[in-house]
């Protein structure tokens, strides 16, 4: 009887030792992305799709986040290693040889707070006091206005800002 109990417990311990909880499970709430909606400048409550939008980081070796998509909302990451993130929002109109790209540069400024998740996922970042600057090109900007809806980015449930065009 006791032998059986011992064997059982030792087996349990052996399997317990092999349990892996060192992989970050999918679906864990990690660092949230910035959610942006695109609305019509003429009718501010109306969603308006951007025809062929490209989003890329505005650094020396830039990374493309989105390429030539038609959408009225996007989710893009913010830099967790710095208090600023620079992006190029490119709207491409026309096709083939007639394609015209309009590049607008945006800079996101914020404060960061690192939040512990668990041992497998490490930490996530929350962003606070979000502020945005659009590089002014006068009438050449395709982005006509920006409105911050939520300046604290802790989840992706609702848009954090609206861009009017």
């Amino acid at each position: 009887m006791f032998k059986r109990i011992v064997v059982l417990i030792l087996l349990m311990l052996a399997f317990k030792g092999c349990t892996r909880d060192d992989l970050c499970p999918e679906g864990t709430a990690t660092t949230p992305n910035l959610v942006i909606r695109f609305n019509n400048i003429d009718n501010e409550s109306q969603y308006k799709k951007v025809v062929k939008l490209t989003v890329e980081t505005d650094y020396e070796d830039s990374t493309t986040i989105l390429s030539l998509i038609e959408t009225d909302s996007i989710a893009i990451p913010l830099n967790v290693n710095s208090d600023t993130t620079k992006y190029r929002f490119i709207r491409t109109t026309g096709t083939g040889d007639d394609a015209v790209s309009n590049v607008d540069k945006l800079m996101f400024v914020y404060n960061r707070k690192d939040i512990y998740i668990n041992r497998a996922c490490g930490f996530s970042t929350e962003f606070e006091s979000l502020d945005i600057t659009l590089e002014d090109e006068g009438s050449n900007n395709w982005i006509k206005g920006i409105q911050i809806k939520r300046d604290t980015i802790v989840d992706e449930k609702q848009a954090h800002l609206t861009i009017f065009h």
């Binding site: 006791f2 052996a14 497998a120």
Partner: protein, 241 residues
């Protein structure tokens, strides 16, 4: 893993020995059984060995038990541990002391003149420790901004943890009053102090913690010496309890 298997092997050896020993019992019903009572003190030899061979670990544990009745022993373990815990996204260092107090129940019926035991025990465990978050990374699967290691050590002092523990041990008398024993422990956390914006990755005495479970495990391999205080004679016939 390897040492677990080794332990299993030794435990099974002990069982074979004890099973054989049981055969041929209950004969000489006129010879009284002499039972020794006393204080047994010992040290865990697994922890100093780990200290020598394992990087980022140091620890020791002393133990003591006192035979209260024929089958029950009051038991206590005191120890100290330091452990570096390195994960891909977090690394921390824990150090502190612990005490475990409880009792053992000897479930093994000894052959004449022998004092081996298979103990089922319960303990209340308490640990007081410090934890230092050495470095961490922000979890990201986005290639645009790969996360960097953030080295910003933060120390969390004066933490405590409490747990309940089931301990199973086998003790064999290898020489007069000298015992070798092996044990396996299953623990369940009751409460712990949560460091602010962090977690206890390791608790001295409780060992590693798990993200989604309150349970913990442990083992020990110890050598102990029994200081006999008095002897009691029991007669097999009147022994039925």
């Amino acid at each position: 893993m390897k040492n677990k298997l080794t332990l299993l092997f030794f435990i099974s050896l002990l069982f074979c020995a004890s099973l054989n020993a049981q055969k041929g019992n209950k004969q000489n019903d006129t010879i009284p059984k002499i039972e020794k009572y006393g204080i047994r003190v010992g040290i865990d030899i697994a922890k100093p060995i780990r200290t020598l061979i394992e990087n980022g670990y140091s620890g020791f544990e002393i133990s003591g038990d006192f035979r209260v009745t024929k089958r029950f022993y009051a038991a206590v373990e005191l120890g100290n541990e330091k452990k570096d815990w390195i994960e891909p996204y977090v690394s921390a260092k824990t150090s502190g002391s612990y005490a475990k107090i409880g009792f053992d129940f000897n479930a093994y019926e000894n052959w004449l003149g022998m004092t081996n035991s298979i103990n089922l025990g319960l303990r209340y465990g308490f640990s007081s420790f410090n934890q230092e978050l050495l470095s961490y990374k922000i979890y990201t699967n986005n290639p645009a901004f790969p996360s960097q290691v953030i080295t910003n050590p933060q120390e969390f002092g004066g933490l405590t943890a409490h747990w309940a523990e089931f301990i199973l041990s086998v003790k064999t008398e290898v020489a007069k009053n000298l015992y070798l024993s092996i044990n396996a422990q299953l623990k369940r956390k009751i409460t712990e102090d949560q460091p602010e914006n962090f977690d206890n990755l390791y608790i001295p005495g409780f060992h590693r913690t798990y993200d989604y479970s309150k349970f913990g495990v442990g083992y020990g391999y110890s050598i102990s010496y029994m200081i006999p205080i008095f002897k009691k004679a029991t007669y097999p016939k009147s022994e039925e309890e």
